[in-house]
Amino acid sequence: MVQYGSANYDPSFAALSDATRRGVLEQLAHADASITELAKNFHMTLTGMKKHVGVLEQVGLVITEKVGRVRTCKLGMRRLEQEAAWIERYRHLWDTRFDALDKIVEHLKDKEKADARRKRR
């Protein structure tokens, strides 16, 4: 329900301004892929896809590795760490909230027990 405004958090978001590049990251999140496979999936020329992958590689969102004649792309550590850091911050927010909720719930429970005792008397 509550977000605390939008932040200008990361320069790599420029690399993410393109729908194809976001799609590539999404696909690599599921499995590594070669540039040829990516080009085919996104209906693009090999050269076009190489350019997109190059942009992502530059900001550390993707890494590539050439084995034989095939260049394989996978998510870069930065992407993984960034997502992990986001999730952890979000978890911390909820954890803080829920610690406070815990106290209120305990209080309500005690109150209910006390009320029940009073009624029985």
Partner: protein, 166 residues
């Protein structure tokens, strides 16, 4: 990420987050009380406002109106010390099933999530599952990145992490 499985003592009081899909986030936690008590703390404004805003966020809550009935509206108004203008967060309860389920929309923008909270009671404890569905992947990521902005200690950690990378 989840260290203890359900039922073990470490799972109790642990908040777990899962990114279920590009557009969905799921938060779970078990509370040591029956569902009707936990539900009360989510549906009564005088209780809700005591836990929803973390103290470390530095926000002050100016008002909290919640009409927790199907079709009812909610509106929370905050002030952050760094911005002069109060911020309002508002939306509609799509579904309110006492002690079981709450569904609300977030209507500050068209990028707001639909939040579903379920309460499952088992042996006097209640598993709360909060599910957020965003309209787009970008909206989810924006929310994730901005969600803890008010928690400075966490932000500092992220800055350090990203600084080490670039």
């Amino acid at each position: 990420m989840p260290e203890g499985k359900e039922g073990s003592p470490t799972a109790m009081n642990r908040t777990a987050v899962e990114r279920k899909s590009d557009r969905e986030l799921v938060v779970t936690r078990t509370f040591n009380a029956p569902a009707h008590i936990v539900f009360e703390a989510w549906s009564k404004p005088e209780l809700f406002q005591r836990w929803w805003v973390p103290k470390s966020a530095g926000l002050s809550l100016l008002s909290c109106d919640m009409d927790a009935r199907s079709g009812g509206a909610y509106r929370l108004v905050f002030r952050h010390p760094t911005s002069g203008e109060p911020m309002a967060f508002f939306g509609t309860y799509r579904e309110v099933t006492p002690h079981k389920r709450l569904v609300w929309t977030n209507e500050e923008s068209d990028q707001g999530a639909v939040t579903t909270v379920t309460f499952q009671e088992n042996a006097g404890k209640t598993l709360v599952t909060l599910h957020e569905l965003y309209p787009t992947q970008a909206a989810l990521e924006e929310a994730l990145a901005g969600s803890a902005e008010g928690l400075p200690e966490q932000f500092a950690q992220l800055d350090e992490l990203l600084a080490g990378r670039s």
